[in-house]
């Protein structure tokens, strides 16, 4: 009798658990470049992990290695029961567009890209605003008046970073020189630390003493080169200050983690809404990182100037040109 009761209870438990799990089943599709790039993809991963820690709900994940695998992975996740799928990177735009039309009951959140559909939420960051701030900081920290930029793959999004950075540097020092190099022309450029380091060293040879890398996993090589040459580097996407305390001037943080966790959480609570979300300085979507690791590099004067500029950007006193508005850096 007792055994039968336990059996019944177990059976009831079995019945109950799928019902609960059916409520929200998240999926996360990374971009090529790898989950642990210490940057963009890793920020998404951290967001999903934070959600898992808070709610105990596990998620599906996939790293594609070809174009065809993007759509395939989205369908695969949906077939395995995912009902809120976050796809990170503009490169997933067409895949999300196609699959969202096929599966109207699944919610999709696309980060860094825009799809207009009743079941898609598009999250865009104002990277130019954050890049402007770190550009200012770079120019303030520079002794040579030359600062530099290492981009990943040469695409409009990365030029948007470079353009904002240049504007920020020129805002502080009108005669500042900004050296810009891109790592490559293929997706391999997101994960080429060796070449990133070489580009940074050549920029140092030309007189730059602060380098900003917006290059995914390639940035690791840039930061190492800065450390080896005794120069300063600026991280991107995740807070990368901890990588080399003392030579990491700051990081241009893009809160991809918050966006991912937010998407999962709002789907769980039923507050998820399709449409367009733009996260800039005003929404804390982008920021410059200040923590124990770089505190010693930032003077009180610099901090005050940064706070003032941040306020001006939020209130509209400074308008930062967006490269992607008309594919040109005009300001």
């Amino acid at each position: 009798m007792g055994k039968a009761l336990i059996g019944l209870a177990l059976l009831a438990g079995l019945w109950a658990s799928p019902a609960l799990a059916a409520e929200v089943k998240p999926g996360l599709l990374y971009n090529m470049g790898g989950k642990f790039d210490k940057s963009f993809n890793e920020a998404a991963y951290n967001g999903a992990e934070a959600f898992k820690k808070e709610t105990g709900i596990t998620y599906l994940e996939f790293e594609p290695s070809t174009e065809a695998q993007r759509e395939q992975a989205l369908r695969n996740m949906a077939r395995r029961g995912a009902n809120i799928i976050v796809a990170v990177s503009f490169a997933q735009t067409s895949a999300v567009e196609t699959v969202a039309a096929e599966l109207p009951d699944v919610k999709f959140t696309l980060i860094d890209g825009v799809v207009e559909a009743p079941n898609v939420q598009s999250v865009i960051f104002k990277e130019h605003e954050g890049s402007f701030l770190v550009g200012m900081l770079a120019a303030m920290a520079s002794k040579t008046g030359k600062v530099s930029f290492v981009g990943g793959m040469d695409i409009p999004l990365i030029r948007k970073f470079a353009c904002g950075y240049e504007q920020g540097a020129k805002h502080v020092n009108g005669s500042a020189e900004v050296l810009v190099n891109m790592t490559g022309n293929t997706p391999a450029a997101w994960n080429d630390p060796t070449k990133g380091g070489e580009l940074a060293r050549s920029q140092f040879d030309r007189g730059a003493d602060v380098v900003f890398a917006a290059a995914g996993g390639t940035g690791v090589g840039v930061y190492q080169a800065a450390k080896d040459s005794g120069k300063l580097a600026i991280g991107v996407d995740s807070n990368q200050n901890h990588l080399h305390p003392g030579t990491m001037l700051t990081s241009m943080v893009k809160r991809v983690d918050v966006a991912v966790a937010e998407a999962f959480k709002s789907a769980m609570e039923g507050t998820w809404e399709p449409g367009f979300k733009v996260l800039g300085l005003a929404e804390d979507g982008v920021a410059w990182a200040l923590d124990d690791d770089n505190r010693s590099l930032i003077s009180a004067d610099m901090e005050a100037k940064m706070a003032a500029a941040q306020k001006q950007i939020v209130e509209g006193g400074i308008s930062v040109a967006d490269y992607t508005a008309n594919n040109a850096c005009e300001y």
Binding site: M32, G34, K35, L60, E61, F62, E63, P64, S65, T66, E67, A68, Q69, E71, Q72, A73, R75, N76, R80, F90, A91, T93, S94, E102, D112, G113, V114, M153, D154, I155, P156, L157, G184, N185, T186, P187, T324, N327
Partner: protein
């Protein structure tokens, strides 16, 4: 090596089979080290590649691309040339397809298809013509020049996609979507016509083109005079010259055909699947063609089989990452790499002992 003649079934099936088995055993050990069951992993790999018509569709879709790039390497190899430029030639082929599709304003794909195929052939061939010409006239080694041309193709494509062909208001470096005529029919759409409902996969009629092209390559290599002359140059250039064959034109021809074959991969990806030109659509398939050709013993039939194996590894591998969460995409690359290592680079490890076994057998028989 060639003089130690082995029976055809040993040469073409037993040796590759043993190599494949070895690769799977080592890969299985890696899986065991990671604390997972190799049988579960193998099951997930095969299930992922053949489990449903949708998954099998993906397998054959990848196979299609591998057939083209594998044939490209094989043809050049028969002329003694190593074409490492498949990646760049495929990119250019995709560009050719795109320009044809964007320039066409009709509505019917059967009219556009042959034009797009010609575009892919022309652009792929263009990209291998110069390395071939330089090899023939200046002796510049194709290994060096074709690698350089890969970078040139990447830079050209990047420039075009970022500055010229990019879809307006688009972040991602890709062209606008083609009109309906630029979409080749998918296998699942064709099968629906016969009342068979299957999941969506990017498999399209380019697969049939790939099989036909493999047949044509065989005909060309072994049933035409040019094919014979090309192989003669590949076996021994001085002997070919002594026999009245001029090696220069043969080298150029081999490279042009090779580039055209690699370029055809663009039809499968661009017109068959993406319906737009996306930067990086080649995804390393051009390089994988080298392994496909090595494994397929540079024979068109072998290349088709090897391409199928690579398709299985590729598609099954991606499902593996889903089924077993501890398997990141890197583990899948390790397993694929082991197969390439054993079947391509280390093929002679087991060849020598097997040749010896056959020699002993022959001696015994003669006694």
């Amino acid at each position: 090596m060639k003089d130690e003649a082995l029976p055809a079934w040993v040469e073409y099936f037993a040796i590759p089979g043993i190599n494949l088995l070895m690769a799977l055993i080592i890969a299985g050990l890696v899986v065991v080290f990671m604390g997972e069951s190799p049988w579960v992993a193998l099951g997930a790999l095969l299930g992922g590649a053949f489990g449903s018509l949708e998954q099998f569709g993906y397998t054959l879709f990848y196979t299609t691309s591998f057939i083209f790039t594998g044939l490209a390497v094989a043809v050049a190899f028969h002329c003694g040339l190593f074409n490492i430029g498949g990646e760049g030639q495929a990119m250019m082929g995709g560009l050719g397809v795109t320009l044809v599709c964007l320039g066409y304003d009709g509505t019917s794909w059967p009219l556009l298809f042959p034009l797009a195929v010609m575009g892919a052939i022309a652009f792929g061939a263009l990209w291998s013509f110069l390395p071939g010409y330089l090899q023939a006239t200046r002796g510049s080694h194709t290994v060096i020049t074709t690698i350089m041309f890969n970078f040139l193709a990447a830079i050209l494509l990047n420039y075009l996609l970022v500055e010229v062909l990019i879809a307006p208001g688009q972040q991602s470096p890709q062209t606008i979507r083609f009109d309906e005529a630029g979409h080749l029919p998918f296998a699942h759409d064709l099968l629906r016509g016969f009342g068979l409902e299957t999941g969506r996969s990017p498999l399209n009629i380019t697969f049939l083109l790939a099989l036909a092209v493999a047949g044509l390559v065989w005909l060309f290599l072994w049933r035409t005079r040019w094919g014979y002359e090309m192989r003669a140059v590949g076996q021994s250039e001085p002997a070919a010259r002594y026999g009245g064959i001029s090696p220069g034109p043969m080298i150029v021809m081999a490279m042009v055909i090779s580039g055209a074959l690699a370029g055809l991969m663009g039809v499968n990806e661009v017109m068959g699947s993406q319906h737009r030109l996306v930067l990086g659509f080649t995804a390393g398939f051009g390089f994988a063609g080298i392994a496909v050709a090595l494994m397929g013993r540079n024979h068109p039939f072998g290349v088709v089989l090897a391409a199928l194996l690579f398709g299985v590894l590729y598609q099954g591998g991606s499902e593996l990452a889903f089924e077993i969460p501890t398997f990141t995409s890197d583990v899948v690359v390790v397993i694929q790499g082991l197969v390439i290592l054993f079947c391509g680079a280390l093929e002679n490890i087991f060849r020598k002992p097997i040749v010896r076994i056959f020699e002993i057998r022959r001696l015994l028989r003669e006694l």
